[in-house]
Symmetry: D2
Subunit: 279 residues, 4 copies
């Protein structure tokens, strides 16, 4: 049980310059007891309202140096304060505020919301177990308009899909990785590096791209690049939900449509999930 | 990988009387191969477009006798047809069309959408493993305006919640159960019986209700009643996401508010999850 | 300017029997002044926080006898209390709680949310003008599986739609009507009567239905029936957003699909709007 | 009546360099006839399916030089082709794809979705009337963490809001303007200029900002700046839906909270709308 979508803004001021971190936190606990379920005895139950208070108090006291550190702080607090807590998990998601710029000059206290991929993290701990940290990006929508195909697949009497050498690849990416044993990582720096890896593996070199023979291969390329470039990452989950773009048949309208007008097919949509770790 | 939100309507006609079943299907596969991820070799990959075709063809051929039977049919088809499939999972969710009635007379072909709890089911199978079936209800919103409190909970310096003997209990229920070894069950009849159990355990006798000392106890009561009344159910997951109703303090507006005007607090919201099975 | 989505629950108790009305209110004002826009002089500005307080206070004092009466109360309060208000508009929308029944017995204090069409109303007044009241229903999803076609339409070189004598008609209805000069109407009774008119005009007789040659004609039938049966209604707006159901072509899958499996096309969707009043 | 959410991607290629414009189009018509409503006579009705075809054909033939030009093309086509069309309106909204950059180098065919304010436009024409063009931006979320207050407002017994000299101003902006008589404008350039005006008027100079005494004044400042800097704009509508950030009272948790931890209040929310034109 726990509290979901604890939303708040942490404002930090250095003179006239302001820094904001707006987050949404979910914290869940499992207690050692079962009497609250069986007998309605609440004596060990930490109210979800108290959970919320603790999250806000920690934000006030420690600030949010990084999402990950904040999630770690919350887990540690519950484990050390309450002996009836058997397990704690905290999810933290960021509202993507970016500092405004006017003609290249950063503004001291104005921000704009730019949701081009949402950063999140998760920390969890069982009593007597290690504190495990995950981080990730979600709702990242990417498209490449060529250098993608799908050929040589398995066919039987239910196959109607034609082979394609040149299609649009468009999808929403979810990517979550674990840090294994948690040390003093520079979580912000790693997160940015991984985001760059995703964009690079998805799109290939800027002047020509790189051919994707399937969603599966693209997912794997993303994972391989991250594992090779970011040593702190142990395991990576990637989910690619793809929107297919259908080339509109304009023959009966007297026109030839050379992949100029395409219609997105939002339902049903394909999905490809893969988990990859180090040996 | 697989295909999500395959939406379609299955229309069945008996003379002038029409029967509709509109569903949303997600079917996911895991293959025995990894070459599509590593080498871009698609020779064993069943396109998600083919998955969609198969779902539609099975709906055409077999109809949708029950959601559960349809999910079972899909899983069996993939397991028996494709030897490269290591695992298959199918989720089926119903669009809640109900037959229209005019002055008590059922209409032969008109329907209204009544989303008071969405029915869904899931079937999954590993190669050489049993076919397992789950069913459930989600998005079921219930409220009781008394016979609910929360007292005697754990307190420390971060506790600000007052004890309450009479509060509103309002929540959205998710309930999913497994049928263990799958036999010839009357899935429709069981589903309706379980829905009744949920409503009964949540609200208590119609003339007086039954006191709930916590969300946890209410969740447990629902599970206990289902296990006692429906022998086919093996394990039950319940999630209760609750909306707290705050009694508006009207003292500074010169009024006494005796729980007459309450404001829902939608974020953050508490959540209580429990899994209960038979011994 | 004003306050939107003021959500609250009004609880009314008669002994052990409880009655709930949960609503969402939006109240907007236009002031006689412009100085708040031009000079930042707020001396006549009623804060939106005060607007919220007033809505809650009126709910506490008067209750919500009907949505319409509550909207009228709010408008009257602003007009009579603040001479700087030039115009006031209030929208009230209901959360569709229904009393739970167990084996036909109504429960004294338990409710279920059944969103099969949302009731709303609107009241507005200019200073020195009449108080005008509107009411309506929205998000009402209806379907008929036959007795609908579309033939004889205008054709040119951009027409690819075939004529159809037997298609599925499925849509989401929005219906809003005005009451003209506002008297002591029984708003609950009228609303229910109009809802019945909509269902009847949409679906026709329960044993055979009635043929719809177009969305336009169906919209008009709904309006005509309401105007003929409900004398208090002066003008009616209807919007019918329709979802087309595409019969899946299964020829290349070796099957004949006699309107048994159909796929909803949710985007793009057609829309048909009509306003009809009395002479 | 008409067709809504006609979604498509227009792909334009110059050698290896690709350009994308993904849009969502709604086109509505009013016919000179009423017989389709009254008699079910469809002879003058242009099917919404044909409307969709025409939109796609025009995209294929003309491309989408600017959203505005495309909306104009559609309106002109309907007016000149169909004499039964009395009125036509077209709304075009853009999916905010931006070209990907790797280390500052633009990619030839990869794009990322960056929804920091959605661009849209509208064109409409009555038969024998002028073609009128509107453009706008919506879903633009901005925040300033100081230089905002609200004081000196009207007070009575329902006022509980304290005066504030330093609060957070956070809101979602909707801004729509008309171009009056439509000439050969550089719509892309104007749109970007107006977006800059909005950001500048909202936030003030980058080193210190500018004090906002109310939402009303901020809305007016945005409008005044646009009218003064962009001569082509005739009238501007601005809607500012604001999210209030509540400073968490931590006294009973033994802490002083100097506007460091704030909680967004998403419902109810204030709204401020203003229309401003030239004399």
């Amino acid at each position: 049980y726990g509290k979901n979508t604890i939303k708040f803004l942490r404002l930090h001021r250095e003179g006239k310059k302001h820094f904001v971190k707006e987050v949404e936190v979910c914290t869940h606990l499992r207690l050692t007891s079962a009497q609250e379920y069986l007998d309605g005895n609440n004596s060990l139950v930490i109210p979800t309202d108290t959970i919320k208070n603790i999250v806000l108090v920690l934000a006030k006291k420690n600030g949010i140096p990084t999402l990950e550190q904040f999630a770690i702080d919350i887990c540690k607090h519950f484990m050390t304060t309450f002996c009836q807590v058997a397990y704690v998990k905290t999810y933290v998601q960021e509202v993507p505020w970016q500092r405004l710029h006017e003609n290249g000059v950063p503004h001291v206290h104005s921000f704009i919301c730019v949701p081009d991929g949402i950063r999140f993290c998760e920390a969890e701990q069982c009593r007597n177990g290690p504190l495990v940290v995950f981080a990730g990006i979600k709702d990242l929508k990417l498209m490449k308009t060529t250098q993608s195909g799908f050929e040589g697949f398995y066919k039987n009497e239910h196959t109607t899909l034609p082979e394609r050498k040149d299609r649009i690849l468009c999808g929403e990416l979810f990517c979550k990785w674990s840090y294994g044993e948690c040390k003093d990582f520079d979580f912000d720096c790693i997160w940015n590096k991984i985001r760059e890896c995703i964009l690079e593996a998805f799109s290939g070199p800027p002047d020509c791209g790189e051919y994707s023979p399937s969603y599966q291969k693209t997912v794997n390329s993303i994972q391989m690049l991250i594992l090779s470039k970011v040593s702190q990452v142990q395991v990576i989950d990637v989910v690619l939900n793809n929107t297919f773009y259908n080339v509109v048949d304009m023959k009966n309208l007297g026109l030839t449509n050379d992949k100029e007008v395409l219609v997105p097919v939002e339902a049903p949509y394909g999905s490809c999930t893969c988990t990859l770790g180090r040996k």
